[in-house]
C-alpha cells in the first residue's frame, strides 16, 4: 500500500497518487461515509475522502509545526511508515505500508517531489492543482508517472541511486561525432525556429552520451541534468533488454572495454567538459573548460531588460488577459488559477506536434504495454521548466525532448525571453515566502545571516524593477497594469508593518525559535507574495515561442539519421564491464565511483541479464546489498562519517568520501570542527549536501583553492581483509582518476 499526497495550507489535496490497495481503502472509506461515487476523480478516488483521511495527520502536523517541532515520520506497529515534508506551503505525506519503501526512501521521495514541482512550476506551488479538472488530471498523471519512474529508477539504476550522471562510454571518435551532431542540431533548431537553444543532451536510456552547451549558456546544474534525464526516460522509455538483442559484432563496432581517453580536440566537446556547478569553488583551472556557443543568437543576458523581452510578453498577454480567473484576480481576488482554456493550449504545447495521439492515451498504453512500440509513441514533447542557475533557483527555460531512435532521446534546452524578471521575483520571494511559515531554527539561521539593511535595499530594488517591467507591459496586460499599480503600495505597506525590525529581531536574537510574524504583517506579506506569484505565472506560464515546426523536427532527426541506435542500446546495457577491473584488482567484485565535482558516476553495470542465468541469485543478492549498503553509507555520511566498511556475510563493503585539492593531494577535515548532522538524506536533486560540505571551509588546504570531492564504494569478496580492500580501493580510485578524461593533462591545453 503506497500513497503520496500533497496538501495545501487550506488544507486541500493538491496532489494525490496511490496504488490500487490504497485507492481501494479510500473507496471503502467513501462508502462508509456515504460519499457519492460521482465525486470521484479520474483515478476513481474521491478527493474529499482523501482529504478527510489525512486531515488528522495534517492538523497534528500543523499544530506541531507552529511549535517548531513538526513530524518527520511515523511508524506503525504493522510496518506502515508515514513521512512528512513541508516546502513552501505544501505539506507532503508519503505513505508505504508494504515494506517496499523504507523511511529513508520516502524522505528522498518527498524531496524528489519538491524538485519536480520546482522544476516544472517554479516557486508557484499552487500550479499543482489548477482549476481546470482536465489540466489537473493531466498534471497529476504526469507527475505521478514521473514520481513512479523515479522510484523505479532509484531502485534499479545506479545513476539514480547515487544521483549522479552516468556517461555512456564509447570510442573517442564516436564521442566526438555525437557532440558534433549535437552542435549541428542546436544550430538547426535555432536557425529554423528563432529560439535560443543553449543546451543539447543526447541520452541513451538513463545514460548520457553527449552534452553540448553553447558558450553563453548558463551552466547546467547536476540536479537539472538528472531531472532532464528522468523526464526523457519517463517520456521515451527504452525498449526492454529482452527486445534489444545485442549485435553479435560488438567488438567490431567499437565497444570499448577500456575507458576511452579522448583526444585533445575532443575534450572541448566532452559531456563532462560542461561545468556543472556554478559555485566559484568548483571552478578550478583543471575543470574549467570554455564553452562554445554554436548559436548565432546567444539571447539576452540575465540582469538586463530589453525592450524585446517586454514586447514578447505583451504579445502573449493578449490571449491570457481575458481569463476569468485573471479577471477575478484583477478585482482583488486571490491568486488566480488559469482557466482550462488557457491550459488546454498549454497542454497542446506539452503534448507536442502530434495532436492525433494524445499524451494521456499514450501514458495509459505505456503502463499497459511497457514494451516498446514506436508506432504508438510520440517523438516529441516539450515542457516549460525552471532550472537552477547561479542567480536564480527558477530560471525559465523550455525543454524539448525528441526521440531520435528507440531509447535514444535528444533533449534541447532553449531560453525564453524575459527570464531576467524571474530572478527579481525569486529574489523577493526568497525573503518573503519564509515569513508566511513558522520560522524554525534553520530558517532563522538563514535569515539571520543576511545584513538587514542591505537585504531591505535589495528587496526595494527588486520590487522597483519588477514594477518597472510591469509598467512596460501595462498596455497589453491588465495583470501587468495591476502589478504596476499595486506592487509598490503593497511593498510600502509591508514595510510599514515592521518588516525591517522583524528581520533585525531575528538577526539579533537567534534564540527565539520558532517564531511567527504578527497577523497584520502576515496578511501584508501574503498579499505581496500572491501578487508576485501571479506576475510570475503571467510571465512564464503562457504560450511562448518554442520548437513547433514539424520541419524543424525533421531536420533534427535528419541530423541523427546515422545514429547507431542498436549499438548504443547494447552498449548501454553493459557500459563499464566489471571483468576488466576484476582482473586488475583480485577480490574486487563491484565498485561505484562518483566524482562530485562533475557529478559523474563510473560503475560497472549490474545484472544485465535480468536474472535468467545460473548466477541470477548472486546478481540479485549483490544488487540488493549494494543498494542497501549505499543507503546505509549515505545515512552514516549525514551523521558525520566519511569512511565506513561493513563485512556482511559474503562480501566486504567499503565506502569513502574524500576531498582533494587541484594537485590531487588528499585533504583532511579540520578536526577542530565538528560535523553537523543533517536530517535530510544527502542528495543532489534537492539538497545541496555536497556543495554545503565543500563550502564549509573545514578542509585543510590552501584557502580559496577549489576542493574536489569524490565518493567511492567498493565490494570485495568476504575473505579480503579491510586493509587490503582499502589499499585496493585507493589504487582503483587513482586509476579511475587517471582514466577520467577531465583529469587528463591534455585537458589543460
Amino acid at each position: 500500500m503506497k500513497c503520496f499526497v500533497a496538501l495545501s495550507s487550506t488544507p486541500d489535496v493538491i496532489f494525490f497518487d496511490a496504488d490500487t490497495p490504497f485507492k481501494t481503502l479510500i473507496k471503502e472509506k467513501a462508502k462508509k461515509l456515504g460519499q457519492d461515487e460521482q465525486d470521484q476523480d479520474e483515478q476513481g478516488v474521491n478527493l474529499q475522502v482523501v482529504g478527510q483521511y489525512f486531515a488528522p495527520l495534517f492538523a497534528s502536523f500543523q499544530v506541531l509545526l507552529t511549535a517548531g517541532n513538526a513530524y518527520n515520520s511515523i511508524k506503525s506497529e504493522d510496518g506502515t511508515t508515514y513521512v512528512f515534508h513541508l516546502f513552501g506551503e505544501v505539506t507532503c505525506i508519503a505513505l508505504c505500508g508494504d515494506g517496499d519503501e523504507d523511511e529513508d526512501f520516502l524522505k528522498r521521495k518527498t524531496l524528489a517531489f519538491q524538485s519536480f514541482v520546482g522544476f516544472f512550476y517554479g516557486p508557484v506551488n499552487e500550479e499543482l492543482k489548477p482549476s481546470s479538472v482536465a489540466e489537473k488530471n493531466y498534471r497529476w498523471k504526469f507527475l505521478s508517472k514521473l514520481l513512479r519512474q523515479w522510484s523505479e529508477l532509484t531502485k534499479t539504476e545506479q545513476a539514480f541511486l547515487t544521483e549522479a550522471t552516468e556517461q555512456l562510454i564509447v570510442k573517442n571518435e564516436l564521442n566526438a561525432h555525437y557532440i558534433k551532431l549535437l552542435e549541428e542540431s542546436l544550430k538547426a533548431i535555432s536557425r529554423l525556429e528563432d529560439i535560443t537553444a543553449v543546451h543539447g543532451l543526447l541520452l541513451v536510456g538513463t545514460r548520457l552520451l553527449a552534452l553540448f552547451s553553447s558558450r553563453a549558456a548558463m551552466e547546467l546544474n547536476p540536479s537539472d541534468i538528472l531531472l532532464i534525464n528522468l523526464v526523457a526516460y519517463s517520456t521515451f522509455p527504452p525498449p526492454s533488454p529482452k527486445l534489444a538483442t545485442p549485435p553479435p559484432d560488438l567488438e567490431s563496432r567499437g565497444v570499448a572495454f577500456e575507458t576511452p581517453r579522448p583526444d585533445a580536440d575532443e575534450i572541448f566537446y566532452s559531456p563532462i567538459a560542461t561545468p556543472v556547478l556554478s559555485d566559484p569553488i568548483f571552478s578550478g583551472p583543471r575543470y574549467s573548460t570554455p564553452n562554445v556557443s554554436t548559436s548565432g543568437n546567444p539571447g539576452s543576458r540575465l540582469g538586463s531588460f530589453t525592450e524585446a523581452d517586454y514586447k514578447s510578453i505583451s504579445e502573449d498577454d493578449q490571449m491570457t488577459s481575458a481569463d476569468p480567473e485573471v479577471e477575478n484576480f484583477l478585482k482583488g481576488g486571490s491568486l488566480p488559477n488559469f482557466s482550462s482554456e488557457h491550459f488546454s493550449d498549454a497542454r497542446r504545447q506539452f503534448l507536442g506536434r502530434r495532436p492525433s495521439l494524445p499524451a494521456l492515451k499514450e501514458d495509459s498504453e505505456d503502463e499497459e504495454n511497457p514494451e516498446f512500440s514506436k508506432k504508438d509513441r510520440e517523438t516529441f514533447v516539450r515542457h516549460k521548466v525552471f532550472l537552477k542557475t547561479g542567480h536564480c533557483p527558477f530560471t525559465p527555460y523550455v525543454l524539448h525532448c525528441i526521440e531520435i531512435a528507440p531509447g535514444i532521446v535528444l533533449a534541447v534546452v532553449s531560453e525564453i525571453p524575459s527570464a531576467q524578471v524571474a530572478t527579481l521575483i525569486c529574489h523577493a520571494l526568497s525573503f518573503l515566502s519564509p515569513l508566511l511559515n513558522v520560522i524554525d531554527a534553520p530558517m532563522g539561521q538563514e535569515l539571520g545571516r543576511v545584513h538587514v539593511k542591505s537585504a531591505m535595499t535589495a528587496l526595494e530594488d527588486s520590487h522597483r524593477r519588477i514594477a518597472e517591467s510591469a509598467r512596460r507591459n501595462r498596455k497589453t496586460s491588465r495583470i501587468a497594469d495591476k502589478v504596476r499599480k499595486e506592487l509598490p503600495l503593497r511593498w510600502e505597506r509591508l514595510k510599514e508593518k515592521g518588516l525591517q525590525s522583524f528581520l533585525e529581531n531575528i538577526v539579533e536574537d537567534s534564540s527565539i525559535r520558532p517564531m511567527t510574524v504578527d497577523p497584520e504583517m502576515e496578511n501584508a506579506t501574503s498579499q505581496l507574495v500572491n501578487m508576485l506569484h501571479a506576475y510570475f505565472k503571467y510571465l512564464y506560464f503562457k504560450k511562448t515561442k518554442s520548437l513547433t515546426d514539424e520541419l524543424c523536427i525533421e531536420k533534427v532527426l535528419a541530423v541523427f539519421k546515422d545514429l547507431e541506435g542498436d549499438y548504443l542500446l547494447a552498449k548501454a546495457l553493459k557500459n563499464v564491464p566489471a571483468i576488466h577491473y576484476q582482473q586488475k584488482f583480485p577480490g574486487l567484485v563491484h565498485f561505484i565511483y562518483v566524482d562530485r565535482m562533475t557529478n559523474q558516476l563510473t560503475a560497472p553495470s549490474l545484472d544485465v541479464t535480468g536474472g535468467e542465468d545460473e548466477n541470477a541469485w548472486l546478481h540479485q543478492h549483490l544488487r540488493k546489498n549494494v543498494w542497501r549498503h549505499w543507503t546505509n553509507f549515505r545515512r552514516l555520511l549525514s551523521q558525520g562519517y566519511m569512511s565506513a566498511s561493513v563485512r556482511d556475510s559474503h562480501f566486504l563493503y567499503s565506502y569513502q568520501l574524500w576531498c582533494e585539492d587541484q594537485t590531487g593531494s588528499v585533504l583532511s577535515w579540520d578536526s577542530s570542527s565538528s560535523f553537523v548532522r543533517d536530517l535530510r538524506p544527502p542528495s543532489v536533486i534537492s539538497v545541496k549536501f555536497y556543495k554545503d560540505l565543500l563550502s564549509t571551509g573545514y578542509w585543510k588546504g590552501q584557502p580559496g583553492v577549489a576542493v574536489h570531492c569524490y565518493e567511492m564504494m567498493c565490494v570485495h569478496v568476504g575473505v579480503v581483509s579491510t586493509e587490503h580492500a582499502a589499499k585496493q580501493s585507493k589504487k582503483l580510485a587513482s586509476r579511475l582518476w587517471d582514466e577520467s578524461a577531465v583529469n587528463s593533462p591534455a585537458n589543460l591545453l
Partner: protein, 771 residues
C-alpha cells in the same frame, strides 16, 4: 557546520516519559491533564507546549489507528523521537533525541515496561489494587514510575555505554576467585531445593555475584535487590509470619508464562522435586522453637558445608593432601590446615567408606565427589548445566551422629535475651533459638567464656548442639570458644561485624558426619528406607536416627528452662488476588541484611509467603554462608587493572549472552570519547538490526576511527583516543607526479582512513580475535 550537537548525541535518552489514559479523552472538552496519568519530568507538564505535544501525540495515535487499524510505535519529530507501547486503554510514551536509533529507543521502552510489568503485572492491575481510585492510581504511578524512570535515566547519564547494551553489573572476581562464584552457586542451588523456590541470584555490593536467572530476569531482579527496602517502588507482602526477620522481604512479581516455565524447568533439574530429602529431619534445638511447626534442618546447607569443605582444596593445598591420603570416594574427609582459616579438619572418627558408596559412579553424586575430595573442576560442579542434572539424580542425606549430653547441655546456657537484640549480621528479629548465640558472642567479647580447649565439657556440649544447629550455632561456638585459628580468621565484614563464616570451619571439626547417598530410583526399586551410616560403619535406619534426633530435641528441651512462649503470630492475611492475564504470579524473596553487602534474591512460587518453615530454613541456612562469602570476597577483591596500553584506546567488549560489558569509556567527556560512544551506538544498532553484518569500521570527519565486530554473542568496539590523521600527500606537480603520489598513498593505505595498524595493535594488546 560546527556545532555542539554531537555533545548531546548521547545524553539523548529520557527527554520525557508519560503515561496516558486513552479513555479519558473522548470528548473535545476532555482535558489532557485528566488523561495523562504520569509525566516525567513533572515540573514541565504545566508548560502549554508540553501539554500540546502530549495531546497531539495522543491524537495522532487515534488518527492513525483509524486510518490503517494500527497504532504508531515510533513518532519522529524534528527535535525528539517518541516510542510508544500500549496496554489496554493506556499508552506509554518515551521520548529520546531525534538522533536516537529507532531500535535502541524501542528496546529501552520495552525494558522499562517489562520492568514495570514484572513488579506490577499491568497498569490495570495497579488500578485494581488501588480499588479503582483514580487519585490513588495516579499517586501510585507517580511513586512507582518515578523510580523506574530515574533508574534508567541515571544509568544512562553516568554509564552511557553500559546502558546502551543493557549490561548487568557482575562482580569482577580475581582470577583466583572462582571459588566464590562456586560457593554462591551452591548457596543458590541449595536454596533452589526448597519448596517453592524457582531460582535466584546473589549480589555483592549491588553487583551480581552469581545468578540462575536469565539475563533479563536478573536485570529486573537487580533493580529491587540492589536497593534498600525503603527505596523499592513497591511494598513487601505482609506474610503475617512473626518469625520473619526484617531484612527479608517478599514482593509480588509477575512472570510471563515462558519465563515461569523456564524457571520451573530449572527447578526440576536442580532436584527440588524429592521431598524425602533431609529437610524432613526435624530441628534439634537446645532452646524451644518459636515456630509453631517443626522447623526443618537446613540439611542441604549442611551438604553444602560438606561441599565447601571438600572444595576447600581451592583455598588450600591441605585438602588435596587430605584427599590424597584418603582417596575413598565417599569417606567424609576432614582436612586440617592451620594456616588456612577455611580449611577443615579431619574428624578422627570418620567412618570408613561404605561399599555402596564405593560402587557409585563418582560423577553421579555431588556429595560423593565432594567426599572423596577428588579434584573436580569447579566449573563442572556448578557452572555447567550437566552438573545440575547430576545433582538432581542423587539424593544426599546427611545426618549427624548426635551425642547428646543432656546434663551438660546446660553448659551452653547463656543469659537469656532481655530484648530482641539485633543480630550483628543484621536480622532485627531473630528467633529465640539464636538468642543464646548472640549473647554468647557478646559474652565472648567480654571474656566470659573460656577457650574451647579449656572447657572440654563445654566443647562436648557444643559438639552436640552443632549437630543440630550447624549453621546457627556456629556463631555461638566460634564466639564462645575461639578457634586456634581465630587470630587468622578475625576478618570483619565491611560493616564491622565479625562474621561466622570462618568460625564455622572449625566448628565442623567437632562434627561427625555421616553421608548417606541414596538414589531415589534405587529407593523406589528396593522399597527399602534409606539407611544411615554411623561413624563406625554401622548402618541404621533413618527412622531411628530421626527418632534419636527427636529424642535429642526433647531432652534438650527438657534440660532447659523454656522461655515464655511468644505471642501467637497473627493469622496470615488472605492472599491478594494478583492474577494478571498472561502472567504467573510469583514472589521475589530478598534477603538483604542492612549492614551486609550480600543480597540473596530468589524467585519463588506464591505459596512461599505462607511457608514459614521454608522461609526460616532459607534465611537461617543461607545467612552465615553469605556472610562468610562476603568477607572472603572483600578480602580477595582488588581493583582489576587493565594493561597500561589500553589507555591509549577506548574499548568496549560486550558479551551478549551474559549481558556483561568490559569498557573503559563511561562518559562523553570530550569529542574523542563522544565519537566512540556515537560510533558504538551506531554499530550496535547495526548489529541488532542486521545480524549478517560481522564487522564495521567507521571514520568520522574528525578523524576518529571506530571499529566494531560482532560474533554470535559478542561485540567488540574500540577506537584510538588520539584523533587519526589522514595522510596528506604533498605534491606540487599537476598530473604525473600527482598520480604517483596518489598511488604511493594508496600503497600506504592510510589516506583511506582505515587505521589498520592501530586496530591490529589494539587487537593484539587486548587479546581479542579481531581478524
Amino acid at each position: 557546520m560546527a556545532s555542539a550537537s554531537e555533545s548531546t548525541a548521547f545524553g539523548s535518552f529520557g527527554v520525557s516519559f508519560f503515561i496516558y489514559d486513552h479513555s479519558a479523552l473522548v470528548k473535545e472538552s476532555d482535558k489532557i491533564e485528566d488523561a495523562v496519568k504520569f509525566y516525567h519530568p513533572k515540573e514541565q507538564f504545566h508548560l502549554p507546549k508540553v501539554r500540546e505535544r502530549c495531546s497531539q501525540i495522543i491524537g495522532i495515535t487515534d488518527g492513525i489507528l483509524n486510518l490503517t487499524g494500527s497504532r504508531p510505535n515510533i513518532l519522529s519529530l524534528k527535535q525528539e523521537k517518541f516510542t510508544l507501547v500500549y496496554e489496554d486503554v493506556y499508552g506509554l510514551v518515551l521520548a529520546g533525541k531525534e538522533t536516537e536509533p529507532d531500535e535502541l529507543l524501542r528496546r529501552r521502552m520495552k525494558r522499562l515496561y517489562d520492568l514495570f510489568v514484572f513488579y506490577h503485572g499491568s497498569l490495570g492491575n495497579v488500578l485494581k489494587q488501588m480499588k479503582n481510585s483514580d487519585q490513588a492510581f495516579v499517586d501510585k504511578l507517580e511513586f512507582v514510575w518515578k523510580q523506574y524512570y530515574r533508574e534508567e535515566k541515571t544509568s544512562t547519564k553516568t554509564k552511557l555505554v553500559r546502558n546502551l547494551f543493557n549490561v548487568i553489573d557482575f562482580v569482577e572476581l580475581p582470577k583466583n576467585g572462582r571459588q566464590y562464584f562456586l560457593k554462591a552457586s551452591q548457596i543458590l542451588q541449595s536454596s533452589q531445593r526448597r519448596d517453592g523456590i524457582l531460582a535466584g541470584c546473589i549480589l555483592y555490593d549491588k553487583e551480581v555475584l552469581c545468578t540462575q536467572l536469565t539475563p533479563k530476569l536478573t536485570a529486573k531482579v537487580l533493580v529491587f535487590a540492589k536497593r534498600t527496602a525503603g527505596q523499592r517502588p513497591t511494598h513487601p507482602i505482609n506474610t503475617g509470619l512473626a518469625t520473619l526477620p526484617g531484612f527479608i522481604n517478599l514482593y509480588p512479581v509477575y512472570l510471563r508464562r515462558d519465563e515461569y516455565d523456564h524457571l520451573a524447568g530449572l527447578r526440576r533439574r536442580a532436584g527440588n522435586a524429592p521431598k524425602t530429602l533431609s529437610t524432613k529431619i526435624p530441628v534439634v534445638s537446645d532452646t524451644p522453637s518459636t515456630s509453631p511447626s517443626p522447623v526443618p534442618v537446613c540439611s542441604s546447607i549442611y551438604t553444602l558445608d560438606r561441599r565447601r569443605d571438600s572444595n576447600s582444596g581451592l583455598n588450600s593445598a591441605s585438602s588435596s593432601a587430605a584427599s590424597a591420603k584418603n582417596p575413598s570416594p565417599v569417606t567424609p574427609r576432614r582436612s586440617r590446615h592451620p594456616a588456612s582459616p577455611l580449611s577443615t579438619r579431619k574428624n578422627p572418627r570418620t567412618s570408613s567408606p561404605s561399599p555402596r558408596s564405593q560402587r557409585r559412579d563418582p560423577i553421579e553424586s555431588t556429595s560423593s565427589l565432594v567426599a572423596n575430595g577428588n579434584a573436580h573442576p569447579v566449573a563442572d560442579q556448578v557452572g555447567r548445566q550437566p552438573k545440575n542434572e547430576i545433582i538432581e539424580r542423587s539424593t544426599v542425606r546427611v545426618k549427624e551422629d548426635v551425642t547428646i549430653n543432656e546434663g551438660e547441655g546446660s553448659d551452653l546456657k547463656v543469659p537469656k535475651p532481655t530484648s530482641n537484640r539485633l543480630s550483628p549480621i543484621g536480622p532485627t528479629s531473630l528467633p529465640s533459638s539464636l538468642y543464646g548465640s548472640f549473647d554468647a558472642q557478646a559474652a565472648a567479647t567480654q571474656g566470659e567464656t573460656l577457650p574451647r580447649s579449656e572447657n572440654p565439657s563445654r566443647a562436648q556440649s557444643v559438639e552436640s548442639s552443632e549437630s543440630v544447629y550447624l549453621d546457627c550455632k556456629a556463631v555461638v561456638d566460634s564466639s564462645a570458644s575461639p578457634s586456634p585459628f581465630e587470630s587468622n580468621r578475625s576478618n570483619r565484614s565491611p560493616s564491622g561485624v565479625q562474621t561466622d563464616a570462618r568460625r564455622r570451619s572449625w566448628v565442623s571439626d567437632e562434627v561427625s558426619t555421616e553421608v548417606v547417598l541414596v538414589d531415589d530410583d534405587e529407593e523406589e526399586e528396593t522399597g527399602q528406607r534409606p539407611v544411615k551410616r554411623s561413624r563406625s560403619g554401622a548402618i541404621s535406619l533413618v527412622e531411628e536416627v530421626d527418632a534419636a534426633v527427636d529424642r535429642g530435641v526433647k531432652t534438650a528441651a527438657e534440660g532447659k528452662q523454656p522461655p515464655p512462649p511468644p505471642p501467637p503470630p497473627p493469622p496470615p492475611p488472605p492472599p491478594p488476588d494478583n492474577k494478571v492475564a498472561g502472567f504467573e504470579s510469583a514472589v521475589l524473596y530478598i534477603q538483604a541484611p542492612e549492614q551486609s553487602n550480600m543480597v540473596l534474591a530468589l524467585l519463588a512460587e506464591e505459596t512461599l509467603t505462607q511457608d514459614d518453615a521454608t522461609l526460616r530454613c532459607l534465611w537461617e541456612g543461607s545467612l552465615p554462608h553469605l556472610a562468610d562469602l562476603q568477607v572472603e570476597i572483600k578480602a580477595s577483591l582488588t581493583s582489576v587493572q587493565h594493561p597500561g596500553t589500553i589507555n591509549r584506546f577506548f574499548y568496549a567488549s560486550y558479551n551478549g549472552y551474559e549481558h556483561t560489558l568490559d569498557t573503559n569509556a563511561f562518559t562523553a567527556s570530550n569529542r574523542s570519547s563522544t565519537n566512540f560512544l556515537k560510533g558504538t551506538k551506531l554499530m550496535h544498532n547495526t548489529f541488532l538490526v542486521d545480524s549478517s553484518v560481522s564487522d564495521v569500521t567507521l571514520k568520522a570527519f574528525s578523524g576518529n576511527v571506530t571499529y566494531g565486530r560482532h560474533s554470535l554473542h559478542r561485540e567488540v568496539y574500540f577506537q584510538t583516543r588520539k584523533s587519526g590523521q589522514a595522510s596528506r600527500v604533498q605534491s606540487s606537480s599537476v598530473s604525473p607526479e600527482a598520480r604517483e603520489a596518489k598511488n604511493a598513498s594508496a600503497d600506504s593505505g592510510q589516506s583511506f582512513g582505515i587505521e589498520s595498524t592501530a586496530r591490529s595493535q589494539l587487537a593484539e594488546e587486548l587479546g581479542y580475535s579481531v581478524f
